[in-house]
Symmetry: C2
Subunit: 156 residues, 2 copies
Amino acid sequence: MDSPDPSRSKRTAFLLSQLGALASARFAERTRELGLTPSDAGVLRLLGRTPGLSQRSLADRLGAVPSRVVPLIDSLETRGLVTRERSSTDRRNYELRLTDEGMKALGKLRGIAERHEAELLAPLTSEQSAQLGSLLARLASAHALDTDLHRDTTVQ
Amino acid sequence: MDSPDPSRSKRTAFLLSQLGALASARFAERTRELGLTPSDAGVLRLLGRTPGLSQRSLADRLGAVPSRVVPLIDSLETRGLVTRERSSTDRRNYELRLTDEGMKALGKLRGIAERHEAELLAPLTSEQSAQLGSLLARLASAHALDTDLHRDTTVQ
DNA sequence: AAAAATGATTCACCTGTTGAATGATTCTGT
DNA sequence: ACAGAATCATTCAACAGGTGAATCATTTTT
């Protein structure tokens, strides 16, 4: 039952990587049931919060490269969740917005995120959960991860 | 500077995903300076702990598929860090072992892991670090992540 | 001895991602 | 107003990491 190395339990950084991957994988499972990827979810969330965003600024906030955003929006537009409309003031830009269906999807995603979090933190008491949240928030802030910017595989 | 949604800070599951990705990315940077991938590091660590392992059981402990292990060992063998030797008792199996160079690399990796952890947890006091470690260990254990088995991108 | 199981390998393939080049539009300095 | 620089979206070739099916050699089962 114990670690094979009795003198020291597993490294905290290791646990963080493992649990982070677990959390991402579980979240991806859930969004897949809606036919969405975690990246799709990130786009919907951002457009819900900031309608009219251009693909460029969406890419920035997502921590992605602009060329990555193109097929992402393509797919969401095809499925009727997002609209592209040329900005009247700067016709280089698109203005991206959620359709009604997109808003509905976003609502479902919020529910998913809630259940996801509840499931993940189920093994902890509510005090422990709060403590964990506070410690992680402190870490994220110190490592400049507290913006809306998501990097690497964390684009969700 | 504040979150655009003032009523609630960011979800803990989200922070976990983000910080896990950050930890993985930083670790990957460091191993890359040794010319190793995180997967290489996982192989070396496991072979250091359990010499003579077959590729099959290595795959099991890594949470990988056997065909994935082949190029991994190929590369390590080419670089002189690992040896393949047919088992005398069952000539289907290889017995994998670290060379002296492999052991040296493993030593460097341990140093890297130590500095990695120190850097990651630097924003916390030592009590907070201990607390975080304990909470994460509890979560990992409850989610059956406490074995040597690494899944997904966590193969390091 | 025949049949089934096991370990390693190959191979075609997939997903997600990146960077460079391109065309359209807008901005800048003179 | 104009030439040149910058910006947005897009395409495209390419890459890394990873997977599953098929194959061959060997061992186990019956």
